[in-house]
Symmetry: D3
Subunit: 320 residues, 6 copies
């Protein structure tokens, strides 16, 4: 029995048959008979946010949305149900000790890796602070590259603690990751202070604006980043801060902005990402269900993005 | 006096003059002196929806939005007021007997055709179940093609009755329409279960994803479909399920999704559709005004789409 | 002490340092030691709207949003803080006498010009009726060109008073501006009555639809308009009616429509506009904060657009 | 044909029979064969509000709510359909000239009185500024008492024009009404500035707080006020500012407050008011449908209150 | 395996211990080892509503709210966890055949009674049409009294089918219940048409207005009704239409009204009701979660009311 | 310059004159020339909440609401502007170290006491965890009584850290306060788990349900509690958890419930509380502005309550 992972607070009544929903397909790990290929881990922490956030409610909202999706991806005419995806539950959190929460996240990720060393790991935040302990756990002495989709650099200094504005800075300062191995796609507008640009330049972080990505197209942009990373690192971690999306497409984030990415662009980018074997883990962070519309616009967008990334991953697997 | 068609519950105070609104232009059929070229029929039925829906309220919301639009289409520099459009009222519904409702819809469409045999018919749903009785009434032994804009195939089997998930299946099973004569444009994502894909393949329904349409462009896509259909069928029925639109553009539908069509794309597609004489009838379905934003985003989108389709139709008419 | 300009009802606690927000940068005019290059003037009038509007609340909402933006524009890698921007306060309004309000606006603009003859003037509405007194004040006997971003022509006749549907008509009828010097970009759909088209043609107003702009691209479109204007006029006034944006991107306007411009398109257009020295003044009108979403989608879009226009202006300045 | 009264912009499809709705009962005046006992006049003016308000939309929202109410008042077991109530339309408004609007209101009320000298007049605002021209029209040289239900005194001085904060002050300053003949019921909390209290004391306005009313009960409170007024005045005008209600019961007003009256208390008070023959006219003001909940909580409360006042009036009539 | 009852679509992860939530206490019937004292049955039908309604979603929303309540009732200082309450699932519904749904409800209730003949039955609607089949199933030839909390009489004639406006009429016309055995508490305002009053008088239904109840107090009012009923009937059915509550307390119903009951009054009334052994079954109907506030105001009120009724029932049990 | 207190992020443009608003009256402490009688301290901490909360945004929302209130209390006919109330700013918070935040709160309160030893202290939360450090700072070795208005006991054990469910438990366990000196008014319903009741009994906390308070009335209830406390303690601390209010009156709290207190009851209770000199400090906690209605219903209720408590305090002062 794990000390740091708890089961989610509700379980679906699962069904078998020709037409299953995502809720019937993603399996509580305890009920799985074969080794999972993908492990989903909930990380319900948002006390570490600079502004008030209910991102801690997202893992639960994410799971509830599974009844709205089937396993068939019509764009590529493929049923991905044979991909074995396990829901391993949520990292246990402490109410007032945020550093303890971060230690729990790191420990939980380690535990998951020990039990399922060959899996692809998808962590569901929570705010962006969770990326730091997740990457620390995953590294194991290897060289790790980070592909970040974000409107912000998340390079704030650590004087105010390991908040959601700092994950990349934490990893750089601790030497866990090298600046030249970080690629941020989606930057735009007036949302990054000069000191963060300075920090990015100091560490050598690669900044790719939304306009630059658009002029290349998703496929070529990802191909170029992957080519560069593959020469340098042992594996790649992908972190998706949903505030990279435009406020018209994702109102349910604490710092939603106009001028951001469209959902179809994010889906295309993640579909490309899923094609690369070196991508070992991924997270989705900074979704606040309390700010979402009554039709769950933002929650549905994340689940769609998640499934898109799994689809190309699955196609690659069966292609081999 | 019709048994199955009732006047809507409110009437506009109509005005004449240089600057009329759509409400002043579309005329109650009783007040029309010449034969109408277009007939609008309200079909306020949503009891037949699988999930709870207030789509029954849409014909009324649609009419109310007429005061927000003029008759001048600035994109093409044309005033379409000379097109004679009649509002013939709503199909009478029964509170508890849905099959009776469907019989009423079929009968009402027949009655409309008898009275106005040369008109173009636009039906305002209501949920998607209404398409089946409408097409049954229109067929009259001829071969009919269906051009469907939809995120879903609507090919569920009929074990649970003639619900909004089944209209195309009903028509296929009853032999009213042939699968090869059905073209669905706008499919995307994880919203169609494998059994529906099976059914589509079994019947030979033509599936065109949103991505495929985008890579061709609206004009060429419609041209290709029309060319194919014109060789096979006697006339074409167009059904627009508004859930084909992205949730950012049309939140007011019962199953709104991210990754869908933009409104400007739908307007372009329907403008192309209006150019073809073989298109005999059209419907707009699955809009739930109770889910719409306070600014009526979805309702306005449908009225705009409707007017766009009429514009090219009118231009074609005067061109002759 | 001005008779017609009042300080806004709250002041930010301003900060200095490496990372300042827009609120720390735009300076109350009284605290400025050098001559401002840009002057921001609030014009909180919306009683003159045809439909009920709270656009009078926008200058305050605009200023509050300044804490959400930094001075660094990452798309162009430039910090614009050295541009000297002064907030000069709000035009004083009368509760019931709208003509008095319009006289106050005109007088306030004159006062601003006398005090700051070399500045670039940005007025924050308010509804669109404010453009007429602003242009009257700015003209000073010169020939003025108007570049208008709008879904509507705003050429209603004046029989019902100088409302928000009439500013351009007022200026044309009074001979303040010539029709051939007015360029309206962004027209689309069924929102302009035939009489307005007539008026536009009568006066020779240049109508450029959204589709026409899209087929050219922002850069070329603006270049063409500027080239034409530069041959005719002494200076250019830019008026941005935020209802030019699509309802999905800017729900918080009194007449929001589907089929409109995207925010990224508006940002690109205004970035181009800022490159031209002949542009002497600009306004943003018709934003109703009471209709905006809880995440302030529309307010944020305007502030972003405003900053984009200042950025290219600043780059031009330092380039000289 | 009246110059200052216009028909509302929509008309109900009226029905006869055993079970009519209020919409089938209140009759357009043109369709009435007998002299009306009650005349309803819409006064869609809210440009005169100090803060932005869409109270101008209320007459239309009020009429639409008529389909939600029957004519049978179950509390008193009485069907009030035999009371002849006529809807005479809306006062014509000018878009930008507020004083003209006030003149139109006064003229419209005079016209109504000439045509229907024996009726009871119910005016539907609009903001509170409309009470002044209405009372001016009604007075005809007689002594008039005012019974006001309001959280505010509405005694602001006139330096900023005849806005919605001034109606009682206007009438007092012009000598149309005497301060001792004004009774304000429902005052509470921190919403009246000292200068208004001064003014109330100066003119001798009777201030009755909500707590005082509650300790007496509705019946006794109204009896006392009526007894006092009947000795002094020729007739009584009742003005109901819906902001007298608590924000939990009436969120849809521009200045809603906690600590206000409950709806059942207002219904009881107006039921008592309806018992007195000296009450010649009544208005309901300051309801902003744009601020109301999606379930129309505030609109429904006003219609209910209106019907309650008519019920006791009708019972008195038939009792004679 | 039941033909007409299905398990709800999700199950809670239940917990034991000192502090359990209602979700940990109410037990799926399959997991219960002793005979349940209370059986909860979901009845997700709202197609039978006259106006569009999502009351079919309420059984699910009701169950989800169980995690917000503990088993300790602090008003009476009692922990009710020893009361054995079973969740038996939902009645199976047909998508388009409403009469079949009603037959399923009747059959399901019969099945529940056969399996658990000694239990107290609580049905969770769904709209008010469900009361008719439920009572038909329960009667078994005995004389049944009905205590109804409702703003409406629900006595519409059956010409438009067995809708939610007709349940009491159905039972009276079929002779299942006698008019004199029906007591309706909570009537008020202008919401019952004359024909319904006629029907109530014809059948001898006892009408008790909200004002009458208030003047007596909850305890005495219930005592009087119970005393009268106990002399006449074999057992009592309680039906709670949540539209009996004021719109300020329960906005989430299709026909919410001002002037209704407060929640604390309903809790007091149901606490009294729970004291009487003759009360054999109860339902809660007409809650539409799609209309509820984001804080779930209406859903929480129903769960609170339900627990209050169980509390006095439990106290009575242990008192014996 | 304080280390732990920061100025709020905006300042009002203050005005003098006969009619000032609360914003013109409550003075930044730096601008005050005489010793303040009341000190307001913002405590923007809500990371310590068990469920996600934006209560950290409340001090700012509270201050913004000051422009909606005057200084004249019409219920008691008193202008309270001569009471000297200082706004001392907000306690400085750390982004990730919650224990540091609690230390800052304690230190800030100590600093305030040193500078203003004779004042009455009003702290504006934040969540309920702030009460513990505030009381610790205030005690100074004396015996302190606590009067708590709350739906919950807030006696959770400390195994999960000093969260918002624990403040009273913290104080009891640490011996700062004795159980018999704590009086909780407003308990109701099913919101306190058995273990908390156990704890309350173990420590001797006085539990007074809402029903008990109602049967006594506000005046007598407070008189009894004060009489009991005055014999035992040196001074009294009042803590107002706004979730004591009914969800219809205060939707903007993280755990809003039906069956709670009305605002007028809370105003009456706090008016009574203000009469007692022994009350040395007060806090208002657990208001989440993100959950409030667009009309700011909850925020306005707190400001009203705050002013009511100051009013009786002021009357007592001038009465001496």
């Amino acid at each position: 029995m794990s000390e740091v992972i708890v089961q989610p607070s509700f379980k679906w009544q699962r069904q078998d048959g020709q037409d299953i929903k995502v809720k019937d397909w993603i399996c509580p790990v305890a009920e799985m008979t074969e080794e999972p290929q993908v492990v989903v881990l909930g990380v319900p922490l948002s006390r570490s946010s600079i502004s008030a956030s209910a991102a801690s409610e997202f893992p639960s909202a994410f799971r509830k949305s599974w009844e709205l999706f089937t396993t068939y991806y019509i764009d590529e005419q493929v049923d991905i149900r044979d991909l074995r995806v396990a829901d391993i539950g949520d990292v246990k959190m402490h109410t007032t000790d945020i550093l303890q929460c971060h230690r729990n996240i790191e420990e939980a990720m380690q535990e998951v890796m020990q039990k399922h060393p060959q899996s692809f790991y998808v962590s569901i935040g929570g705010d962006h602070s969770i990326t730091a302990p997740l990457v620390r756990a995953l590294r194991e002495g290897k060289r790790v590259g980070i592909l970040q989709f974000d409107t912000h650099l998340d390079l704030r200094d650590l004087s105010n603690g390991p908040s959601n504005g700092t994950p990349i800075r934490q990893l750089l300062e601790a030497g866990v990751v090298q600046g030249e191995d970080v690629y941020n796609i989606g930057l735009h507008g007036f949302y990054n202070a000069p000191s963060l640009i300075e920090a990015a330049k100091h560490y050598g972080v690669n900044m790719i604006t939304l306009k630059q990505m658009r002029s290349k197209g998703a496929q070529q942009q990802i191909a170029e980043v992957m080519a560069a990373l593959q020469e340098k690192v042992d594996f790649i971690y992908v972190t998706v801060d949903i505030d990279v999306l435009d406020i018209a497409y994702a109102p349910g984030v604490p710092a939603s902005t106009p001028g951001g990415m469209r959902t179809d662009e994010l889906f295309d980018l993640l579909y490309e990402v899923g094609k690369y074997e070196m991508v070992r883990a991924m997270d989705f962070v900074c979704i606040d269900p309390h700010r979402d519309t009554s039709e769950l616009q933002t929650v549905k967008a994340v689940t769609y993005a998640f499934l898109t990334a799994l689809s190309s991953r699955y196609i690659r697997t069966i292609g081999n």
